[in-house]
Symmetry: C2
Subunit: 384 residues, 2 copies
């Protein structure tokens, strides 16, 4: 996967050993991250961005890498996460394959890729890794931690396990725990990969015997659940492919535009993401439950996040994977914790992915929140 | 599949040749059906039930087969579809594998199963077969045609292609055309089957080399889209399997109750449905568009169904596969056509499958509609 690591990537060496929540430890592990803007003297102007399952750390362009990032319209000078004011850090998730240590990374004990020898990965491990990065960069307290989707889970785990690490929080299409519909979808995605004979118990080669079909199926199911029926009705309707784009000899081949769209998405993804990494990250979401330490009471888990003073929680009404009730729950829980919480239920038609594409709604929402957010300095003395 | 044909099944020989909408014809084809109740002298008290994709014709128990049917609480003496009054006919869909001719049936030209040599199957073919059955039973006009899910599509095609065949219509979780979200889901189900090496281009054996994994995946995705997140939150939450039900040596094996539920559903289904039949029926739904003959204008297609005088249209607010907007569209179109239409948006939590399980809501709704429905006799003289 090394060819897909963005050029502006920096590396942060995690403490070694780095203990994992469910047992075992990583040795010599590292996080890939990028930064934008300028760190102020007191390191008080830091916004940390935690991503969904598949993005890399290249959230936006920079002098070091002028190619557009996955959140290009959100991060930059004068943009909603304004790099004229904020020092923005985006990290590739622990367990991913875009620079951070994951199942495709070499196990220092053997020199061979970990594959299924990678320790069980949980969202909390990603949060601990993020905390190590924050501390390692000399940051006492983040002005804000922003988490999207899986990153919204990681952000909540970070706030719970590292009290005082951030005062501000933006949670977008996140969840405080996995619920059965999403677990079912992810379970099926993992099964598609594992059933592919070329997965071979995790012992495949990126450029050789590789579970391409399983990954295609997993990605297509992902895309189906990332968008919404409402959007697709307007976007694709019942439009069919031009005859020359169809394969005449395949009676069950692609016929409708929506099928071609899924196929194109899947093809772009397949060889750009490590299948074992997909399995580990996917399972970590199923396991996540912020209420775990509170007898399964999610609301109490959220109410324990007492160092957050300001939060923006955004959900999308058409999101079927992280349904809006889950963001309502986060907002209510953070209010219980005493935070000043703004909850925005967005009518975006694009479903879960709206935060990636609905600039008109998400841009002003995030900009407006951050504009009124103090830098961390003001009461950093309150923090242990 | 013969071992799964219910014992009370009767067979109706279709006209031979039986021409298919998209070309070709069936020779010596037949429909499997069951009946309940007593046909009155004028054959005016007939209710025809058209099923979803997978059920057989055994909708309810009878003296000939006392085992419970798939709609046991709906059909019988004193039940919502009251067999003390109505003569009820339920047919297995053309192209299915539960007695009606389909891809697993022998092609009389070769003596071997049709497999992919079965002609392209469309919803309209199923409707034409239903019309042939109705005529063959000596019925001039149905009092009511009831269609669920795919059967709701077939019912609309029947009404459009055979004017006057029914005065009453109950459309439950149906659709007048396939929309891209559902097309995407079904496309992925078909792909799962086709990608299974044991599908073997359709040339598998039921009890030998068989695409079990592909069928399991297809069925699991089906069940996910037949139910709803709301129902599963309450039913499964984050409950895990007992440790003794887990396989210790499989790091990505079943862990949550919802995964076990899907697995159990899939296992029950896999060897009870012919994979090629699944492909043909699934694709027929994608192709269906009642507006096809009206320049793609679904509403005009519905407005052409001018012989329906009374209709009950039911949708479920949590249905993601046949979303309630599609039943609203049917209701509005039938009103345009001049029918007396009752539209019931049900708050059932069970999603698309609610009509199979939400007896408390669907029973009274159907009973109330049929109670006021005249038998067909009253104006049978109006019909050509």
């Amino acid at each position: 996967m090394t060819e897909f690591i963005p050029p502006a990537t920096r590396w942060f060496p995690l403490p070694s050993p780095f203990p994992m929540k469910r047992g075992g430890a990583l040795h010599g592990a590292r996080l890939a991250y990028e930064t934008w803007g300028t760190l102020d003297a007191g390191a008080t102007n830091v916004v940390l961005v935690l991503t969904g399952m598949s993005p890399d750390a290249h959230a936006a362009s920079s002098a070091a890498d002028p190619s557009p990032g996955w959140w290009e319209w959100m991060i930059g000078p004068g943009k909603p996460i304004d790099t004229d004011r904020w020092f923005v850090v985006c990290m590739n998730a622990l367990g991913s394959c875009k620079g951070s240590t994951g199942p495709a990374s070499p196990d220092p004990a053997t020199g061979e890729p970990y594959r299924l020898g990678f320790p069980e990965l949980s969202i909390e491990d990603g949060a601990d890794a993020a905390a190590a990065l924050v501390r390692g960069l000399g940051i006492r307290q983040l002005a804000c931690v922003v988490g999207n989707s899986m990153g919204g889970m990681t952000a909540l785990a970070l706030l719970a396990r590292h009290p005082g690490i951030a005062r501000g929080h933006v949670n977008i299409c996140g969840a405080a725990r996995a619920l059965p519909f999403s677990i079912a979808i992810r379970s099926l995605q993992r099964e598609a990969i594992r059933l592919d004979p070329q997965w071979n118990g995790g012992d495949y080669e990126i450029n050789g015997c590789y579970p391409e079909n399983g990954m295609r199926m997993a990605r297509k199911l992902g895309v189906i659940t990332y968008r919404s029926a409402l959007e697709w009705d307007g976007r694709f309707g019942r439009v069919r492919l031009d005859p020359e784009r169809r394969e005449d000899d395949d009676p069950f081949g692609l016929e409708f535009e929506v099928e071609s769209y899924l196929e194109a998405h899947a093809r772009r993804f397949v060889h750009r993401f490590d299948p074992n990494s997909y399995l580990y990250l996917s399972r970590s979401m199923d396991w996540f439950d912020l209420g775990e330490a509170h007898g399964g009471d999610t609301r109490r888990g959220l109410a324990s996040l007492q160092d957050v003073t300001h939060a923006l929680v955004i959900g999308v009404k058409t999101d079927i994977l992280f349904p809006i009730q889950q963001q309502e729950e986060i907002a209510a829980g953070l209010r219980d914790a005493g935070a000043d919480v703004r909850f925005l239920p967005m009518p975006s038609p694009q479903g879960h992915d709206a935060f990636l594409v609905d600039e008109a709604r998400f841009g002003p929402a995030v900009a407006g929140f951050l504009r009124t957010l103090p830098t961390a300095r003001l009461d950093a003395n309150r923090v242990a």
